[in-house]
Subunit: 144 residues, 6 copies
């Protein structure tokens, strides 16, 4: 699992680094989430840039493909964060996972979190894949 | 993410394939789980061989390193399956993940499932890593 | 709790047995779930037939009424699988549970999983009961 | 944290006390929940009055502001009860919490239950705050 | 599913009815839980008698065997209440479920909550069954 | 709910501020958690200082008593983080909550997360209260 990205950059603040990482990973869907926070909790938008993206996703030691596999697995298993799962299925495609790889991760969750969790994850993936084929952005108004 | 394993083998039953896959992935820890099922639900031991290992882990399309990343992430995030998380941290090492990669996956779960989930996952990993250093088998009497 | 069904049949494959059990238990709602999987993960449709229905629901030792009580209780308590809960409320009616019995199981979950879980379960049941009265199929496009 | 309310009243039944407490705390949204139970489980409506409101919220030892902080925190962290979370964000405002205080509680849950739980909680709050500004009742047909 | 118990009795308070029902269902294990509450929250002991046992388990419409199937299923699936699961496996035996029936319910949870939940439930059952065989009370100091 | 603390201090880094806040809130128990991370994930110890304590608990807008009410409620309801719940029961006492107030918060969780969650929370509180009475530190080797 070779590090293909170089997310750490000298002299950059956590906020700047996080904004850059979120744009690379989540793309347009990520920006919609941030925009949706503007009128309720703009401080929280900064935390989203800084901690998950500026701190965690920018760490060396695990490439972005592996990080998205971990996130898709966890959100599928938890079953409480469908909007965020959709954004990370999109993010998985953005960082180079194939549809098959994403589908495999979700299917595997039937073992650990049960068949309903896997089914609900597969239907989320179907929606994201279909939207991408149609050239539409995935529905992301309430996601991360 | 190159497929390094060849888990499917012509003419093999699901049960045989699952026994072979469990031995390769979970090692001694997996066998202890199966043995512990003998006096309460031996049928369930066969399901463990057949579905997770004979069916799912034997599928092509995702290598075992990626599958263990997904499982470690999910079990850390769920927080309800510490014995199984320990077996899969051990399994992650068995299929070639480094301690750093496993630690990175667990740390990342702070973002998705909260700091307590990540902390409890890290303490599970510390226990498995320490047992392995000491040449002991990890405690696996009630795990998968 | 007398076994009233005979789901095991000599010489039948797990897939055949599972298809027959799913049709008996989930009815039309089950078939819609399977159909919805066709374009995203057809293999997973086979796992749904084989493991939950071909293996588990076909086991002797617990009748289908008791099995649906267990499933309705678990899905209500988990609170992460509303589409699947609706299919199993429908399945409960299919295998002979009364509306009162189903409602009792859901109410009891207030004790173990809290009042919101029970309330959300009751509203799911209300929707399924109303659709059945109206002669409509329950909404099952994303359920098991 | 001084007790500002006096919910216990001599000679009142649990049901009467619960109805009074629910009206004070949840307001119109609470009554809609109770009404929605009428045709599926009217007994359960009585339990809702009696146990959560007649017993628990009526206890001395913790004021209603603190009780709503606890409930908003728990429902945000659980992530399985969005309709009930919305009713309790409304209830928090009813018993004197400011929008800022409610938002702070939800943001804090990022630490304990992860960023998706906090994000989904913030979007629920945004919806309740917006409906209140517009003079609309919050959507409460399936909530507590 | 015939009602074999008669838990409702004229003129009895909820507290009296609950104490009687808890004694019948949970036996000695239930009393230990109540005793353990004495020095931290004696009021809560009364709620345990009154709501779960005085109100819910005493309702007609579902027999105690079916109620224990529902509870064992839910607690196995939730995975967060092992002490309480053990008490209810004991309670299941008390109200007439066989070991096989209890084991079947727990195995079925692999479908809905994943293999780790079922495994952890089976190991809890093994412990309760073994203690009962040995004539020991199950460990119940922190259970319901 | 008046802000009694002043956690923000000019010119202080997040790390410094977080270390000061953790010491004030969690006391010795917090330091043990951090020490336990040293040999597995020292970076994560810094994140614990920086995000939960340097960022979140240091925010104005909600006093520490209210913040600990929220945390105790959430951790009780989640049921997956007993070591962390114990540290925050201790922290609640540190920031001025009474034993009664803490007990009330935990009891209230029976409504939202079920009786087992409240029972397990009460037994955690009993352990922390007893250790404090005895002049012992609470057991905190794996907590936050």
């Amino acid at each position: 699992m070779i590090m293909t990205q170089q997310l750490q950059s000298a002299g950059e603040s956590r906020l700047e680094r996080g904004k850059r990482a979120l744009a690379e990973i989540d793309g347009e869907a990520g920006h919609k989430v941030i925009a949706a926070l503007a009128d309720i909790a703009p401080d929280f938008a900064n935390y989203v840039f800084e901690f998950p993206f500026g701190d965690i996703y920018s760490r060396p030691g695990l490439d972005l493909r592996a990080r998205e596999i971990a996130t898709i697995a966890a959100l599928t298993a938890m079953g409480t964060a469908t909007p965020q799962l959709k954004v990370h299925i999109e993010a998985g495609l953005n960082v180079g996972l194939s549809r098959q790889e994403i589908t495999e991760v979700i299917i595997q969750m039937a073992v650990y979190a049960g068949f309903p969790a896997a089914l609900n994850g597969l239907f989320a993936a179907r929606e994201v894949f279909a939207a991408r084929l149609a050239g539409h952005e995935p529905p992301a108004s309430e996601a991360l």
